[in-house]
């Protein structure tokens, strides 16, 4: 059985988004990729607010890829909002994909609960490498959590 995977990508720069999408296509990532351009929309989507209230059309993603600098809510704020949820979506794997390599940003992302932090490569070759890593590691090797259970085992 082939699972339908969904990636939610939040990126405000249209040129970056185009390059990432091209790399995803080249890496033959078959997951459905939903693109949003600001932090408020990402929260609305994850929360299932209108216009994203139909989960058949707007499924919960298996992976959230966040840029750091985003209009309205930034990447940190979206991540903190997600991790403080009481329901199971709080454990959704999140990757920061950003041009910042500042230690302060990297540390803050891990402190906020990011699963992984990737620096946006500047060339297409580097982006293809990132796309391939996302495919082989996060979409294949890694075990996703279910986003519905209580997750209180052993507590």
């Amino acid at each position: 059985m082939v699972k339908t995977r969904t990636i939610l990508m939040v990126e405000d720069d249209p040129a970056d988004m185009r390059l990432i999408q091209r790399a995803f296509a080249k890496a033959e990532i078959t997951a459905k990729v939903i693109r949003l351009t600001n932090g408020d929309d990402a929260v609305a989507y994850l929360d299932g607010q209108a216009p994203y209230d139909n989960r058949a059309a707007y499924p919960l993603p298996n992976l959230l890829i966040l840029d750091l600098k985003l209009p309205r809510r930034n990447g940190f704020e979206v991540l903190q909002w997600l991790r403080s949820r009481r329901d199971g979506i709080r454990r959704m794997p999140v990757i920061m994909l950003t041009s910042s390599r500042h230690t302060v940003d990297i540390n803050r992302a891990y402190d906020s609960g990011v699963n992984s932090y990737l620096a946006k490569p500047e060339n297409t070759e580097g982006l293809l490498q990132v796309a391939n890593a996302i495919k082989t590691y996060w979409l294949s090797l890694n075990e996703d959590p279910t986003l519905l259970g209580t997750g209180t085992y052993g507590k």
């Binding site: 794997p93 540390n107 992302a109 609960g113 992984s116 085992y153």
Partner: protein, 154 residues
């Protein structure tokens, strides 16, 4: 000082099954990983290592790891309890934690992510399969991923 910074960081492996640990360490060597691997068998020992107490008080001799790979079933303190503890510590909580276990129940996977695991991987048993997993860990966590800075205090 500069050469010290360039030295590859330690990987902490917490695995109570000696055969599993041996296979993994061998696979890391085969993958060309130069990072020293500190292997501990018990959860409570890993806690002492991370906290820098008892025989691990000297951080120059026992530097903090840049990556933690742990099983869930551990004597002394379970993997889940250890992850929860790590995530209550300033700085330590930044270190990426990979669960590598035979447990494939959703309840363990959910609990591990809720505790703060960065990734959850299933143990493989065939040697070529172990090599594949270790190569992917190497390519992803030791190369592509940006590591946080964790200061060796004390």
């Amino acid at each position: 000082m500069a050469s010290e910074q360039r030295a590859p960081g330690t990987i902490l492996l917490v695995e109570d099954e000696p055969a599993d640990a041996r296979l993994l360490i061998r696979a890391f060597t085969r993958a060309g990983v130069l990072n020293p691997i500190k292997h501990l068998f018990r959860g409570d020992e890993a806690l002492a290592f991370l906290e820098g107490i008892n025989q691990y008080a000297d951080r120059r001799e026992h530097p903090l790891p840049i990556l933690i790979i742990l099983d869930l079933k551990l004597p002394g303190m379970s993997g889940l309890e250890l992850i929860r503890w790590i995530h209550l510590q300033r700085e330590l909580r930044r270190i990426p934690v990979l669960v590598l276990t035979g447990q494939k129940d959703d309840k363990f996977i959910e609990a591990a992510y809720d505790a703060g695991a960065n990734s959850y991987l299933l143990k493989s048993f065939a040697e070529d399969e172990i090599d594949r997993v270790v190569n992917l860990i190497n390519n992803y966590w030791l190369s592509l991923n940006e590591s946080p800075l964790v200061v060796n205090r004390k």
